[in-house]
């Protein structure tokens, strides 16, 4: 195994992203149904997650198969093609709540720990 010093900032960021993309995605859908491109842009601009299309769509697919989100095709007047909208299911909302609680508790403790030297 290579020493930790060999890991680039990008590699570290990618590894940390893996755990939070699902949480951020479900949180975004809590605001209402959205389609893929808008979800991607929302995660980039609102959550600051620089994820790629090749990451997002398989994740949406997996969450849909897992019953955490549900999709429907909509034909909208301003669009030249139908759009696939995703929204949270009750199971997804419960999972979001559980993951959020864990994340907030964990990051709260970790932030306090990492900042202990600054006090």
């Amino acid at each position: 195994m290579p020493p930790a010093a060999d890991k680039s900032p990008d590699t570290r960021r990618t590894q940390m992203y893996k755990g939070v993309i699902e949480l951020a995605l479900m949180s975004l859908l809590e605001d209402g149904a959205e389609y893929g491109l808008r979800i991607l842009d929302g995660l980039r601009t609102r959550a600051g997650l620089d994820l790629a299309e090749g990451t997002l769509y398989p994740l949406l697919h997996r969450l849909e198969k897992g019953g955490l989100i549900v999709a429907e095709w909509r034909h909208e007047a301003e669009a030249s093609h139908p759009r696939k909208y995703y929204r949270l299911t009750p199971e997804g909302a419960a999972e979001l709540k559980a993951q959020s609680d864990i994340w907030l508790d964990m990051t709260g403790r970790l932030n306090a720990f990492l900042r202990r030297g600054a006090k």
């Binding site: 491109l37 997996r62 669009a79 139908p82 696939k84």
Partner: protein, 187 residues
Amino acid sequence: MTDYTDIDAWLDRLDQALLRLPEDERADIIGETRGHLEERLDAGLTSTSALAGFGRAEAYARAFLDDYALTQALDSRRSLAMARVLFDFAGRSLVAMLGLIGFVIFSATMLAAVVCILVKLVKPGLVGLWSGPNGVVLGMTSHTGMHDVLGNWVYAVLLLLVIIDAALARFSLIFAVKGVKGREPTT
């Protein structure tokens, strides 16, 4: 070649790469991806920029195919199907490799116990729980000076071993397939 032609060519390759998926699922993925790409082109992006985030069509398809293969294997509840899919993942997943190793070890032990039961039925004197100066051996032994301490009760011990090994072999597979499934797709 126009940007839209580039997109069509990329989508054709994606469609080919997704052939193992059910038709409706494949059409769903293609339709959604086409919508995304065309909306990006309509917003002024080039095909190269629009496709950059998806990567190669075959690599993008792999994330869907992997999830499908793992789900199919789990839903089938068949040990061989799960072992086969773990074998496919073993080169790129430590969890899959460990699951396969566990499956092989527990299956081999189970098979040995079954063989001992069959041998015991044919030649009862060859199989037992042997005790002697060299320690204790379950099954068959070539050491002399050992005596069988269980008699026919060894059937119960071997049967218990078969049941425990079968459960552990299956647990190794299910645990590994679920573990691999939980780890993808993220990149």
